[in-house]
Symmetry: C2
Subunit: 362 residues, 2 copies
Amino acid sequence: MATISFARGAPSLDIVDVEGLKEASRLAFENDPAGTTAYGTSVGYVPLREWIAEQHGVAVEQVLVTNGSMQADAFLFELLVQQGDAVIVENPTYDRTLLNLRGRGADVRMVDLEPDGISIDALKTVLGEAVHPKLAHIIPNFQNPAGYTLSAEKRTALLELAVEHDFTIFEDDPYVAIRFEGESIPTMLSQDDAGRVVYASSFSKTVCPGIRVGYLVGPQAVIKQIQTLATNTYISPNMVAQSIVNQFARSGRMDGAIETVKTNLKARKDAVVNALQREIPDATFANPSGGYFMWVELPEGVDVAELEKAAAQREVQFVKGTDFGGGPNTLRLAYSGVTPEQIDEGITKLAEALKSLGVAAS
Amino acid sequence: MATISFARGAPSLDIVDVEGLKEASRLAFENDPAGTTAYGTSVGYVPLREWIAEQHGVAVEQVLVTNGSMQADAFLFELLVQQGDAVIVENPTYDRTLLNLRGRGADVRMVDLEPDGISIDALKTVLGEAVHPKLAHIIPNFQNPAGYTLSAEKRTALLELAVEHDFTIFEDDPYVAIRFEGESIPTMLSQDDAGRVVYASSFSKTVCPGIRVGYLVGPQAVIKQIQTLATNTYISPNMVAQSIVNQFARSGRMDGAIETVKTNLKARKDAVVNALQREIPDATFANPSGGYFMWVELPEGVDVAELEKAAAQREVQFVKGTDFGGGPNTLRLAYSGVTPEQIDEGITKLAEALKSLGVAAS
């Protein structure tokens, strides 16, 4: 019996275009041996930087390509967040963001996340309490951990508040390309005419995580300062990896790879929804329109920490909602790394684990 | 007329095994598609970590593979060096090390470097002045910028001083494999039975710089703490790049690649020595037995800042010794990126530039 893991936000190997990566590697060393093997500069591999700038319709000077987007986050926090600075985050939010901000001694203010994104009313309440945030960290599409997407109206409202209250919006958008249905909503970056948005994304979800290529897009002055931090940290990010991504993108592999990911993840998401409705009908969740994750609320009184142990005995893993700032009856299910068959079996076992706790649904 | 650069410590493309890298990439994706494309952990790609541990004869738990050795340095400094801490460095030393330590607010103490390594007498004088360093940064082989190598006797003396005065030796050894002649001298790491040495090296000089793979070897407790810093910074370093290096190393390409580098760099070093003796006979330098660099002292009274301008007019570049903490009459010549023919022409022009300053040799 193999463990069924809903814990890790990572793709299974079957949805990674390994052949495409092999071909892109060959092209990287053949088409640009000098640029691929030499030191670059901290802005990243120049042709990939240009490709990203074109995708976002910005000047190349607004783009910095990094060793994964976590490293990009770390640079941005290093630049903008000092000990005691207030930072707005969503509640729940990505556990590593919480950890890094708290590690820097930030005054982290969690603001409720709703199915259409951060609560603007709750944010206004915080801003009215003489809190002057330096930064608001927002995951706009298919949020980690909740799977929720920020509405167009709330994007506009956030941009207005950022200008009014003089803070930077960190638009952290790694899942944007993995939309299953519905229309894409314009990024806050694309609507920012006040230099308030720094945008981050990566190729972890479209190419593969092991390639560790992420990037920032923002005002030139901010990117220039982060470039200095990057130079001092590592001189140059990984040119081999960035050259491979560049070939992958420019040889037309990217669109096909994204289609494969989307088709498979939609089937996995549907499998979770169907199995949950069948096996745990009193679970509450929003049906994600993209991404890797689903946020599940169990009836009041269910102790998810206990459920985690009971599930582990049945070789099923997930992450407790409390790790992300959520309530004791919440959990995150990642469906990116499990097949529909595994999902069906895993949710059935999760339901058994829940029943074993002997908690009556409220 | 193309610029002849003795400025950058980087290999020219003709001594990089591009075919070998292409082949290693293919093998990486074919032999371990899952490990190559997925997130790893912050210890690095496991088979490469094992290969490095074998090379150094240490436990795998003593090894951490990073995104280039600059990133390794940054983690080590973050762990060990706080504002105001005394740190010993060689004079002259690598300019980025100086920059990073000063950026952290370290109390940097430069100790004279001699052709057989750091002056133990001068170090004892500093240690006798109630300075309690946390760290001594030492580049033992073919030092950057001087090209000097630390003798076996001084390695032993340094280890004894580290124990006596309770500091860590940071043995920063990226050039070790590029020895042209003479016997290798055992690392301080291999003689350390008191847990005093943290060793760093990289594949930038043996595989290529763009691959950005470096590593640390040290006491398990130190490596464990740095592992936590690495996890918080980037979750996982570049698995694709580390898997390529692993295939390159294990398919027997590494030894041939190093032979190519050594043969070519020895010819380049000889060309510098011959041209200097012919064109600038009153220049003083030690003949390096390996590595990328040569340290040149011009007669007292020569202003190398002026020489730099005069050389630039003749399209010849080098780095002033003052950038590394050296005197105004010193300079660093990097011969890693120039052919013997370019070297001959470049040193001839450098001599012309020197004559144009109109300084009489002392």
